[in-house]
Amino acid sequence: MSFPILTVAAALPAVGAVLTAALPPATNTRSRDRNKVVPLLFSLGTLVLACVVAARYQPHGARYQMTENHSWIPQFGINYSLGVDGLGVVLILLTGVLVPFVMLASWHDADPVVDDSGTFERNRRTQGFFALILAVEAMVVIAFEATDVFLFYVFFEAMLIPMYFLIGGFGDRTKGEDARQRSYAAVKFLLYNLLGGLVMLAAVIGLYTITHTFSLVSITTALQNGSLHFSSTAENALFLGFMFAFAVKAPLWPLHTWLPNAMGEATPGVAVLITAVVDKVGTFAMLRFCLQLFPQASKTFAPAILVLSVIGILYGALLAVGQKDIKRLVAYASISHFGFIILGIFALTSQGQSGAELYMVNHGVSTAAWLLVAGFLMSRRGSRLIADYGGVQKVAPIMAGTFLVGGLAILSLPGLGPFVSEFLVLVGTFERYPALGIVATAGIVLAALYVLVLYQRTMTGPVKPGNEGVGDLKARELVVVAPLIALLLVLGVYPKPIADIVNPSVNQTLSQMGQSDPTPHLTSAHSNAATTTTGGGQ
């Protein structure tokens, strides 16, 4: 039997979480740092394993690779079966990259309270914070690997618990921070996602009643060779059950309202974890489960979902423009971006889906860069209100510069990662639904507005009273920001490695659905341009 690399990649952070939680509580600065270095090392170890997975993956090999299969609950036909496709590999890599940065950026967010005599408050709060992050990482990784519907469901639901404690238990210690608001946000997060998950549970049970298996591979094979056939009512109902859960998680308008609360109240690091990592499970699952298990229903509902996602793009962007709170602004920007991702997925064209998959990576990296720098800024001033800032670039030029680069990535400036993916999504959408493509493009304009206005208000102009003492980025913060910005540049200039991994699985998904790209019917010059764009990724 080959080495179970996928299990190990998920188990390492899980072991790290348990170990971190079990460390003795900090009594001085040294033991406090030890309690944070241990989880950081585990997350770096996971990153190494994620790289190994990516290196072993052969883009043109089998659909699912490095598979593992063990019986778990045979009474219900549930297997512990893992396997990765291109998208899974890329997202595991994204998770592996982002978690260490999130930890470093949140280094002091959960520090123990020290009283006047220098004694540490003796509890496990600090290490609990890092243990929870590792637990979330473990569950997210296994969700990206699961090829058993039930196994996926279990971790899709279970990851709510550590997330809930991360949101509700650790505030960001800034002005306007309110324990009641925070616990409200945590509960709202949990209830929305739990409701989504339970509706999905009904669909999971229904799927089992019809197919008598949970294996993604057996179901898709049976669907393709015709030995299994859903009645269209059943397929539609099951699709909606799954899609509801993923649309809450992703989040798709109008199921998005939990996200601004959760991201607004959580620490910046946890907010990045929510939007850049955990929410990706939702869009990932749309591609892996909705499209593959229910191809017909996906086609039936695609127009409706596309309309919702375009509404989400515009709505999120418009509300982002009007926000007074930096973190809520980022949250609404994310809602807009998730609209783009879902648009790309359900346009059902190869450019659209490649774009959506690249978008998941780019959105993760760019939001992390943007929001973490914003977090450093907020931690200095102790406020998350835009109105409290002004002229920061005069006192903290490096911070202002990195904040600008992060923001430019968010607004899809050519040369930075998100541009490639956003362009592909729009092209892919335009091919089949020109009107929606055109309307969605307005989202880009609005993105420029909310990013630049935020920059202008906080960074430019005369130094606002209270901002004089804002220090520039420290070494730890630079270690967080510099690699992320480098990554954005690489992804913007040379996205080929990621595209190479992703594209074959996009084509497989579409061919499984019996969906081909619409024949170009515009002038030859235009269609050539479109082909060249995808050609770059093949």
Binding site: E157, A158, A179, V187, L191, L194, L201, I205
Partner: protein, 542 residues
Amino acid sequence: MTGMTLAAAIPPISAPHIEYLQLSPMLAVFGAALVGILAEAFVPRRHRYTTQIGIALAGLAASFGLILYLAVDGYATNKADLAAMGAVAVDGPSLFLQGVITLVAVVAVLQFAERRLEPRSGTGAAVDAFAPEAAAVPGSDAERRAATSGHATTEIYPLTMFAVGGMLLFPAASDLLTMFVALEVFSLPLYLLCALARRRRLLSQEAAVKYFLLGAFSSAFFLFGLALVYGYAGSVQLSRIADVVEGKATITPALAQTTGNDVLLLIGLAMLGVGLLFKVGAVPFHMWTPDVYQGAPTPVTGFMASATKVAAFGAMLRLLYVAFPGLSWDWRPVLWGVAILTMVAGAIIAVTQTDVKRLLAYSSVAHAGFILTGVIALDRSGLGAVMFYLAAYSFVTLGAFAVVTLVRDADGEATHLSRWAGLGRRSPLLAAVFALFLLAFAGIPLTSGFTGKFAVFQAASGSGATALVIVGVLSSAVAAFFYIRVIVLMFFSDPRADGPTVAVPSPLTGAAIGLGAVVTVVLGVAPEYFLHLANQASLFVR
């Protein structure tokens, strides 16, 4: 001449053949109960406490050992048969549920025996959760005198043993009369146990009276239903009733007038159903649960909430699956309605509760609804799923109520929810364990609650009850809300300055909570073996 004719007419009455081995699990428990009564009469006061606990635990251990022996010996599968002239069925479901009940009872006895929670200072001697004398108010001189002179309600142990014996018999009873006797044998001691709380005496006595009156009503319903069904079928034997329902039996001439009268059958079945639905606490027969759960001493509540439910669902399964499967077109729609009402009402009313014990009471109502969805499946997978659910649920319940006994202030247990604020900051471990139980109640994956819920919903869906599954899932979402509210309260609210303290329990309660937590996690993460066991056991003998 005439004497000879008579002798020929009356067949000789021979002693019935009793299979003592098959009945031995019940006999062991009843034996322990009788020995316990003798101990109460003859053992000196000072030694009664230890003696009674020893007897009870020995009886339960013996019973569990015998159940294991019977199961291993094949009485759960190929040797499954009726014993005691067809009055008791010794088969897979009986042995599985009896095993669960004895284990639950062991944990319950451990909690009854807990004497370290009540402060010694006021009483001069260690006291438990039960009133030493009916008139001795907690903290009064009378109570101090009673406690120091060694008066204690050690009779709870024999009472518990009788209740357990009845519960063992209830799901195994294969004729309606035995079922009724078992129902009474386990109900009467429970009424008494409810009234024995040391603190909040009036609430406890009120609970007992309510439970007794309503319970007596439901018993009367059951008995009347029994009589009507006898009129219909000419027999109280479940298998014989099934034959008559399916039209396969020859009719006794003496009862020819009533036999086959569907009116008798339908009304009779409905009345039997009322009796059983009362015991499981299904809507609209759930009114007693919150009051009784709140008023009874918490260890008793835990025992009642878990073991009674196991026994009553066992009996309901046997009644519906053995005697009335031929009538499923009539009872299934009714149970559909009851299940939906129970799930929805239990979950929604629980949202407004402010007392932990009442909250858990309404949650148990909602869970009765979830279990009913499995009962409705009327197939092997439904039976296995319900049995698994019962096993999983009872240990979570025991554990949760055991935690409730630990959170105390000067007036005893602090059950008002507002008092639980910030518990997670004061004693994170206890709060974490309680959170685990709440998550299991809510059915979060990787806990036993999820596996159980999945099993019953899957069985229901397999039998075509999709609508039930959807209602179940939606009420789970509502239910999750109030479980999570408690978690929020414990972890994210600031502790009150005058908040309750967490008593340090003796190893007895510690063991109960620990066992509950272990079972919750094991049945959630690696349920394979136990699901297999439940599935294997899921065949009734007729």
